[in-house]
């Protein structure tokens, strides 16, 4: 109750600002809000013996389901905690946690790729899972394996026909993801290896989401795209192996399959009790051992290789 009345107060302040026309001036000053996060206010509701509070977790949609599942279990165990898991994309997640609008910001890319170095320093990177991703094609395409070089050719527009990579002749319909997407960033980092895409070439579609990618690949003759393992579905499309390595969790863990990324849960350096507890839970065996694999991700603990923010891979 305390929480809502405080917010109501803020709300009234906001409305008053609108009425006075001050809201206009107010927004001009600063783009970010200075809210300290509602968890503190919520935590004051009851005693400090058991966990209570509110966590807002926004950001990347690619592992939203995983976090939701974990959050539901966590809330079942801690009835006074409420976690609201919202989407918005990696950019939004990082902005929200940076601006204090969320306690956890999900991202499928390193924060270094999107935020200023000064802002990154204020955040803690919690890598909660690894996601492997690989090329997928329409079920009618009679190619089962592509080399990294061939993928590079296809995704830069140099290779345009399936006959050039050993399949039956027919145009290659490239379905890409939006430039800002973490999946695309990961895929391009591993496949293009620094090669630039000429301005003159473009794919037949740039999709916002894995959902539309699945649909388009399934429906479009001769299409190719890429997708996280968690979305793999043999009934809808065909997953390719790369350089002869099959897209499996084991191959990612061993470092043989190169296209993968961390799923990050960024928290502020001074995160509150509840948030820390939830992150600990995310990294516990209960989540890592069960949920992560169930949802199609790879536990970080099993990885034999690691990646840094610049994309350099090293053995653990």
């Amino acid at each position: 109750m305390q929480d809502i009345s405080r917010r109501k107060f803020l709300g009234l302040m906001g409305s008053a600002a609108v009425l006075a026309g001050l809201g206009v001036a107010g927004c001009g000053g600063s783009g970010s809000s200075s809210d300290s996060g509602s968890a503190d206010a919520g935590a004051g509701d009851s005693g400090s013996s058991s966990l209570s509070g509110t966590i807002v977790c926004s950001g990347a949609t690619s592992f939203q389901a995983l976090v939701e599942d974990a959050a539901n279990k966590f809330m079942d165990a801690n009835p006074d905690v409420s976690i609201s898991v919202t989407g918005g994309g990696s950019g939004q997640g990082l902005s929200d946690v940076k601006d204090g609008k969320a306690q956890i910001g999900r991202s499928d890319v390193f924060a270094e790729a999107k935020l200023e170095a000064a802002d990154v320093e204020k955040l803690v990177d919690n890598q909660v899972a690894v996601v492997g991703m690989g090329p997928i094609v329409n079920s009618n395409v009679d190619v089962d394996d592509l080399s990294t070089e061939q993928l590079k050719g296809i995704f830069t527009g140099e290779i345009t026909d399936w006959s050039e990579v050993g399949g039956t002749a027919g145009p290659i319909q490239v379905i890409n993801r939006k430039p800002g997407s973490g999946t695309r960033a990961t895929f391009e980092a591993a496949v293009l290896q620094g090669a630039t895409v000429p301005d003159s070439w473009k794919p037949v579609a740039e999709e916002d989401s894995s959902g539309t990618v699945v649909e388009k690949v399934q429906q479009t003759e001769g299409s190719i795209s890429y997708l996280a393992f968690s979305y793999y579905d043999d009934s809808k499309f065909k997953a390719l192996s790369v350089d002869g390595v099959a897209p499996t969790a084991e191959n990612v863990e061993s470092g043989d399959f190169k296209i993968w990324a961390y799923e990050h849960c960024y928290t502020p350096a001074d995160a509150d009790e509840v948030t820390k507890a939830f992150i600990d839970y995310m990294l516990s065996d209960e989540v890592q051992g069960e949920l992560v694999e169930k949802d199609g991700f790879i536990p970080v603990s099993g990885m034999k290789v690691q990646k840094d923010a610049d994309g350099n891979i090293s053995n653990k």
């Binding site: 803020l10 709300g11 302040m13 926004s58 539901n72 809330m75």
Partner: protein, 302 residues
């Protein structure tokens, strides 16, 4: 000469017939298109919609996810939107019809409302995501969403109410003013009751439009199903359904969201949701007309 005239008469007569034929065909096409759209949606989604549990199960249910939270959120969001937009629109419309002095203030107000009516809903959503969510500090919440929808709804409502008020005969207004009554009394006691059927119809039809809006909501009220606990009594908790400071996902946003995440069975749920949305909107339209007619009847038979 006469023959030419006859030929001409025959020609224009034929022209008239052909034109009528083409026009009839066009109208037939439009009706067929409408029927096709409605039938297609129902064909794709009705089966899922009528599956037991679809309308009552939580979207987070593992076995048989439903849309109960989305259904609730859609109506709850609509409720708040109407609570905000109806009084404001009513006031603005009354001002414009009854008080508006002919000066730059009125002109500016009219332009403002017109601007609002032509704004793309994504721009309203963007503005909301900065203004309501950040500047007013309402967070991504039902409140922010309802306020964004209010901006979207106000111009539609103002125009409807303005029209309804203007359609009340001028003489009613004069008669009341001539008895020494204020414009305020005239409007609230004479004009509004007389315009009520048209206003109610307008409000319900606008509700249908609000109900289906998604673009303005994605960045203001969120696009993830909230975990709702209908037994919750803590109104500050994000799981409390009545808490307007919690994020929410309406049916329209849910459809958009489901297309984005390719989990098994999502497309079927999306179509089920679309069918439900469609039926709600059909009901709104029917309700609008029935209510309007009933009110008008009640008033004249009083």
């Amino acid at each position: 000469m006469t023959r030419d005239l006859d030929a001409h008469a025959a020609k224009i007569g034929k022209q008239d017939k052909i034109a009528t034929g083409i026009l009839t065909l066009i109208v037939g096409l439009v009706l067929a298109l409408l029927a096709a759209i409605v039938v297609y949606i129902l064909f794709q989604g009705l089966g899922k919609m009528l599956t037991p549990g679809f309308l009552t199960n939580s979207p987070l249910d593992d076995e048989n996810p439903g849309i109960s939270f989305e259904l609730f959120d859609s109506f709850y969001m609509l409720l708040w939107t109407l609570l905000f937009s109806v009084p404001i629109s009513l006031g603005a419309a009354i001002f414009l019809v009854e008080y508006a002095p002919e000066n730059w203030v009125t002109a500016a107000a009219k332009t403002a409302i017109e601007t609002l009516s032509s704004l793309p809903s994504i721009v309203v959503g963007m503005f909301g995501s900065l203004f309501f969510v950040v500047v007013c500090n309402f967070h991504v919440s039902i409140l922010s969403g309802a306020l964004a929808l209010t901006m979207f709804n106000i111009p539609i409502l103002v125009r409807t109410i303005q029209q309804a008020l203007e359609d009340v005969p001028r003489s009613q207004r004069d008669a009341s003013l001539a008895m020494g009554l204020t414009r305020w009394e005239t409007t609230t006691k004479i004009l509004l009751p007389a315009a009520m059927p048209a206003i109610v119809t307008g409000v319900v039809i606008s509700a249908g439009r609000v109900f289906g809006e998604a673009a303005a909501l994605i960045f203001t009220s969120g696009s993830a199903p909230a975990r709702l606990n209908f037994a919750s009594t803590n109104f500050g908790s994000p799981t409390n359904p009545w808490n307007i400071f919690r994020p929410a996902e309406t049916m329209a946003v849910h459809i958009w969201k489901l297309r984005m995440e390719p989990s098994q069975g999502n497309d079927v749920i999306a179509w089920g949701c679309a069918a439900m949305l469609m039926i709600c909107i059909l009901l709104f339209n029917v309700l609008a007309r029935v209510l309007g007619k009933a009110l008008a009847k009640k008033m004249t038979a009083e």
